[in-house]
Amino acid sequence: MEKLIRFALDYVSYVVKGGAKFYAWMAGLGILIAIWGYSFYIQATEGLAVTGLTDQVSDGLYLGNVMFLVGVAAAAVTVVFPAYAYQHKALHEVAVLGEMVAIAAVTLCNLFVLSHMGRPDRLWHMLPVIGIYNIPNSLITFDVLVLTGYLLLNLVCGFYFLYTKYTGDRINRVFYMPLIYISIVWALSIHSVTALFINTMPARPFWNSPVMPIHFISTAFAAGPGLIILIFLLVRKNTKLWIKDEAINLLSTIMTYCLGIALFLNLSEIATHLYFPTEHTLGLEYLMFGVNGLTALVPWFWVSSAANIIAFVMLLIPRVRKNYRLLPVACVLAFAGIWVQKGIGLLVPGFTPSPIGEFTNYMPTLIEVLVTLGNWAIGAAMLTVLLKGAIGILLGEVKYATAPWEVRGNVVPFYRATPKPTTKLPWAPSGDPARYEASKPSSGSRTRRRRRDALA
């Protein structure tokens, strides 16, 4: 228990301290969050009338972000699965970072759900026991179930792993491994259920497509690893943690496959629908070409499609994929392209035309955009803190033995067989000799380190 309290204290005191860059970043996010507070207050008091939503287009930016972010959360599996199922060494070392991304993404989803609801104060009605849980009929209840479960699984797995790293204890594999395998399957379930949540409505033919779940998963496993690669590259640049090239290369390979599958599914849907267009295809036509001069979504569709195709072509070329100056460009393109495709590009055509054939242009209002930005800022702040804590523990900068009074007194903690010179290094060496070597401060430039890694 004492260890746990110390873990919490050390963790918190570590994550709140940082350099100027860290404070500047958090302050920037803080401003966005303050604006969010104001906009959300307006929305809560005035009602959703302050958004661009209408009876015709009743879900918009908020639900679109939910759809997308569930995918990002699920994509943590692209790190966890190779790490544990295929014993991928480089990813195994940083698997916990994937779990941290999942935690932040699911929390962000919940924020967007909160923004989307007409009566967020009544959300307790959805809870089992005190409210009513319409299971198995309503897919929202499944969504709540799988998202909450996924959040808990990642919280438990991630923080249990960090805690053992912190204390230096061995991982209890009987407890830990089943949870990891459950979370891998669970990740697939969250995104399938999110797809089923909208594609099970025959009233909306644009969504009512059986390829939606697999399309969701393939786009998620393209956009998610894209984000994770960007995060890994940033971590390599800004912290002492060196994430190996193999980890990034595997992620970019997964991204290539999944983006390819996603594009193929896109094309097959377009071909199926446009060969003999019916009333049910009007949504797709509205998205791709516009109908009767209403072309609000057309640029979004073509720009996002172009972004996805360019990203795919870039990723297909091994030399580009392994060039870490160009790879982020492909990642940003895929991430942004899929965000548009799964947000505005998926929801709005589902509503246009409405069931009685009405076309309505949807344009998010300023409040809606500010709430969205604020939600993302909260998510980014959370992710920063989670990653910072995890990296600190992975590096050994936050460690049970490094408590100042113990080091000062040069007392060996009872659970340690051999004392380690924690006072000499800014962080304690971990069990992995390769990482220890790589993280030595006196081992030359980053290029040389990278070369050595490549040789090893």
Binding site: G47, D59, S138, I140, P202, A203, S354, I356
Partner: protein
Amino acid sequence: MQQGKVPPCDSDKEHHSQGRRGMAETAATPSCSSRRGFLKEMGGLSIASLMGTAALLTNSDDAQAKTEWAEWFQGNYRLMTDEEKAQAKARLERRYSQEYGKPVMVDTTPAKEGVLFGYALNIQKCIGCRRCVKACVEENNQSRGNAQQIEWIRVVKMEKGKFTPEKMTQGYPDPIGIQVGGNAYSAAGVTLEGEHYYQPEKVPEQDAFYMPIACMQCEKPPCVKVCPVRTTYRDADGIVVIDYNWCIGCRQCIDACPYWARRFNWSTPNVPKAEMNPKTHYLGNRPRMKGVVEKCTFCIQRTRHGRYPACVEVCPVGARKFGNLLDPNSEVSRILERKSVFRLRADQNTYPKFFYFMD
């Protein structure tokens, strides 16, 4: 959760005999000075103070805050006991009466046995005057004005279609043999792509006919299936109703409805005090709050007392018919028996109890 549940001291003994509390207590302490009485008083006090806090927070008078507080905690209407329903009714009546400055009645009449409501509309007769829409808005306390206008009935104007000889030569692909006729893309008849914002000088218009739509009160309603909190449900007499106090505003039902029958209160609805209809039903036309969904309920406040819905009463051409589908002598049953009848969007398998017919 309900106030007024603290029993007076003399009822203490009875309470004890019911064995509500499993704790060992001496039966010889039925006075107010007992520990239990004290605890109860304290409990009452703390509830009162909580309510006081709520009142301060909402910055309104105590009664209003109390009502809101109690309303926030009330359960799903279907699961309420009769006593809880009565309390909810009294609470709402008090609040609405205060808000609208006149005595408002909130009816909680349940469905009658042996009744299944059905509706039949003669599209041949409808002249598109939209008196039904107006009557519905007034009867059912829908929001009006520019800020938020809600209409449960929409009258859709359908094109009769124009087939012209000029278009005969405009088919394509031309040189190989025409596969798409030149008259292909002109709307004709019920296409569900009609116009419902028409503003004619006079109705009926020459080149159009009209098809009013509203909630179809499906026997297999998709909106009910998707509701995560079961706030919308099919009541025993076949009317699909909404407990506005339990709705979380997720709008999943709006997405699932193939008839675009549901409306969302994007902001607090605007119902002028003078125009407000004080005869309301809990599941029907009582004033709604912002952030919840509403729709046609076959005028549940009228029909459960044997009256016609407002739209039926007002229709100047008698196009609208209403009745009990289980009664073979009702108007609706006789129409189903004798006329050619169709359901809108039968492909959706929703089995509406709203039928269209022609003479």
